[in-house]
Symmetry: C2
Subunit: 353 residues, 2 copies
C-alpha cells in the first residue's frame, strides 16, 4: 500500500511538537522544525526528518544544549563570529545567515563564521537564505565524522566537508550547488551493499590505494575525494575556513557523532552573502544568469542524455512537487517516526493536526 | 650540456626590458615582470615566462591595452569592482588584491572583482598576496578558453575555472591550494602524447561519454571535471562568481585566446581577503594551522607512499630552491626566448645584467 503524501505543514508541526517535548523552547522548536521540513521539501532527504531520531538521541544524552545563549563574540563591519553555545546547528546558522545578509546589504559582502555549533542540515539551506534575498550565498562546513585520510595516508583526519553556492536567477530557477568533496557519499555505498551490487571504480580505495568495488568491504577502505589529491586539498581548505578560522573542531578534534552522543561536537560552519546589486544592477545580473542557464541547458547532448541539468534544478522541481502534493516519506521512516512518537507520548505524524 | 640556472632577478630584468620594448610603461613592465618571475619561482611554469611569447603576440596584434586606465567602478565598504580597461591581468589583479587587503583590514573581509581584465598567471599568486599579509586569500577566475561542456553535453561552454586558497601558518609553510576544476590539464594530455603513453581512465571522455585514453585522439573528447557532475557545478559557480557577477565574459562569451590575439577577452577574476585577526588572535590561528598541517603530514601512510604533502608544500620547497640556486628553464624555452630577444632587439636573457 502506498503511503499517503504528507503536507509539509503537518510534518513541521509534528517535528515542532517533538522538539518541544524534548525540552526545547517553542520558538526554537518551530525554527528547527521549519528548517528540517524545508530540507525534506527540497529533496535533501539524507539531511531532513531522517535526522530527527539521532538528534533526539543526542538531546536525551545531554549532547545538545537546549537553552543555548547563541551570541556574536567577534564582529567587524563585514564579519561576525558566533558562539553557538552547543545549541542546535539550525538555530546557529539561521542567525548567522541573517547577520550575513544584513551586513552584506551595508558592505556589499559579509562573512559570518560559527563555532560550538552542531549539524544544521543540508549546506544549501543556508546558502539559499541569501539567494532568497537576491544575494549570492556560499556555505562551508566541517562534517561531523571523519571519512577521509590526507592523500596517500591511512588515518581518517578529514570529513566530506561540503560547499554550497546559491545564485539568484530571473525567470529561471536559482543555480544551487550543494556538494560534498568526495565522489560518493557513504549512503550510496550502503545502498549498493543492500542491493548486492558492485561499486564503480572511483568511489572508494582500499588501504593499498587500489580501487575497492565490493561495498561489503567498505570498512576496509576510504571514500575517494573528488579529483584525488585535489579533493583532499578542497576538504582541507573548506575545513580551515569553516573550522580552524572559527576555533571550531578540525582534523583529529572532530568527533564521530554517529557513535558519540555526549561529547560537544564544536561544529564549525561559515556563511557568506554577496550582494550583486553592489556590483551593478541586480536585474541585469539575474538576466545574465538566465542567459547562462539557458545556454548550458541548450547545449547539444551526448547520446542517451535526455536533458542537461543545472545544479539545483532537480531539487527545485522536487520542491514545487512536494509543496503541491505533499511529502513522500519512505515506509520504513514512517514506521520509525511512529515508534518515536509513541515513546515520546506525542500524536503520530498522521494524527498531527 | 645542462643550462646554467638563471637568477630570478635576471629573468625579471629581461622580462621588464621586453615589456618596455613592446610599449609598456616602465612601472607596469616592472610589475608584470615581477609577477611572471614569481610564477616561475614558485614552480608554476605553465603560467610563468612561457607565457611571454603569447603575451607579446597579443600585444603586437593590439589585443591588449598598453595604456590602461584601471579603475574602481563600484565600491562599498567591503567590496570593489574594477574595470581593467583591457590591460594586462597582472596589473589589474595586483591592484584588486591590494584593495581587498586594505578593506579586509577595516571590515574583517573584503571581495574585489574585476572585468575587462586578462590572463594574470597562476591563481595562487594573488591568493598568496593576502597570505603574505597574514590573511587568508581566495581567488576565482574564468579561464580564457573553453574546454568543458556542461555535464552530459557536447558544446564546450566552460573553462577549467580555477580556485586558489592561501592560508598563513606559523612555523609551517603556508597552505596554498591552486587547482583547476578538471582532473587533468591539457598540458598533461599533450605530454602523454609526446611520450607515446596512454592516459589513465578518468582524464578525458569522448563524445559518447566513454573513457578516452589515447592522447592522440584528445581532440575527439573533453577534459573530465573533477567528481563528474560536481566539477561541472564547480566550474559553473566559479565562473559566475568571477565572471557573471562582474559583467565579465562567461559561457559562449569566452573567446579562445590561443587562437584569437585580437578580440577583447573581458576576463573576469575575483580576490577575497579574510583577516583571521578579526576572528580571534592571529598567532593562535597560525598555531592551529601548524597543528593541523603536522597532523596531516604525520598520518600513517599507504604502502609505497614516502611522504604526505600539504597543498602548496612542494611549491614552497621549489621556491626556496629557486631563490637560492636560480631558475632552471627548459632548453627549448631558452631557445625560444633567445629568438624572441633577437626579434625584439633586446639583450639575450643570459646577457641581461
Amino acid at each position: 500500500m502506498a503511503e499517503a503524501r504528507i503536507p509539509a505543514a503537518q510534518l513541521r508541526r509534528f517535528v515542532t511538537t517533538a522538539m518541544e517535548r524534548l525540552g526545547m523552547r517553542s520558538d526554537h522548536a518551530a525554527t528547527v522544525a521549519a528548517l528540517m521540513t524545508e530540507a525534506e521539501v527540497q529533496g535533501s532527504d539524507g539531511h531532513g526528518v531522517i535526522r530527527l531520531l539521532p538528534y533526539a538521541r543526542r538531546i536525551k544524552a545531554g549532547g545538545i544544549n537546549l537553552k543555548p545563549d547563541i551570541r556574536v563574540v567577534k564582529e567587524k563591519a563585514a564579519m561576525a563570529l558566533i558562539d553557538g553555545d552547543n545549541g542546535m546547528g539550525h538555530l546557529v546558522m539561521k542567525k548567522a545567515a541573517e547577520i550575513a545578509i544584513a551586513k552584506a546589504r551595508q558592505c556589499g559582502i559579509a562573512w559570518v563564521g560559527a563555532r560550538l555549533s552542531n549539524h544544521a542540515g543540508p549546506a544549501s539551506l543556508y546558502a539559499r537564505m541569501a539567494q532568497a534575498q537576491d544575494m549570492v550565498g556560499m556555505y562551508f562546513a566541517v562534517g561531523n565524522a571523519n571519512h577521509l585520510p590526507p592523500w596517500g595516508g591511512l588515518d581518517m583526519l578529514l570529513s566530506t566537508n561540503p560547499i554550497a553556492v546559491a545564485v539568484p536567477a530571473g525567470e529561471e530557477p536559482p543555480v544551487v550547488l550543494d556538494m560534498a568533496t568526495t565522489v560518493a557519499a557513504y549512503g550510496k555505498v550502503k545502498a549498493k551493499a543492500q542491493r548486492g551490487e558492485q561499486m564503480p571504480v572511483g568511489w572508494m580505495i582500499d588501504r593499498q590505494g587500489q580501487p575497492l568495488t565490493d561495498p561489503k568491504r567498505s570498512e576496509e577502505g576510504f571514500l575517494m575525494p573528488i579529483g584525488g589529491y585535489k579533493g583532499y586539498g578542497l576538504a582541507l581548505v573548506v575545513g580551515i575556513l569553516a573550522g580552524t578560522l572559527n576555533g571550531a573542531a578540525m582534523g583529529s578534534e572532530t568527533i564521530d557523532f554517529n557513535h558519540d552522543d555526549v561529547s560537544v561536537t564544536n561544529t564549525g560552519q561559515a556563511i557568506v552573502a554577496i550582494d550583486p546589486d553592489a556590483f551593478g544592477d541586480l536585474d541585469e545580473f539575474k538576466a545574465r544568469v538566465d542567459k547562462l542557464v539557458r545556454e548550458m541547458r541548450g547545449s547539444a547532448r551526448m547520446p542517451g542524455v535526455d536533458r542537461i541539468w543545472l545544479p539545483g534544478e532537480q531539487s527545485h522541481a522536487k520542491r514545487l512537487d512536494n509543496e503541491r502534493f505533499g511529502l513522500e516519506l519512505p515506509a520504513a521512516l514512517h514506521t520509525q517516526l511512529d515508534a518515536f512518537a509513541r515513546d515520546l507520548g506525542i500524536p503520530l505524524l498522521q494524527d498531527t493536526e
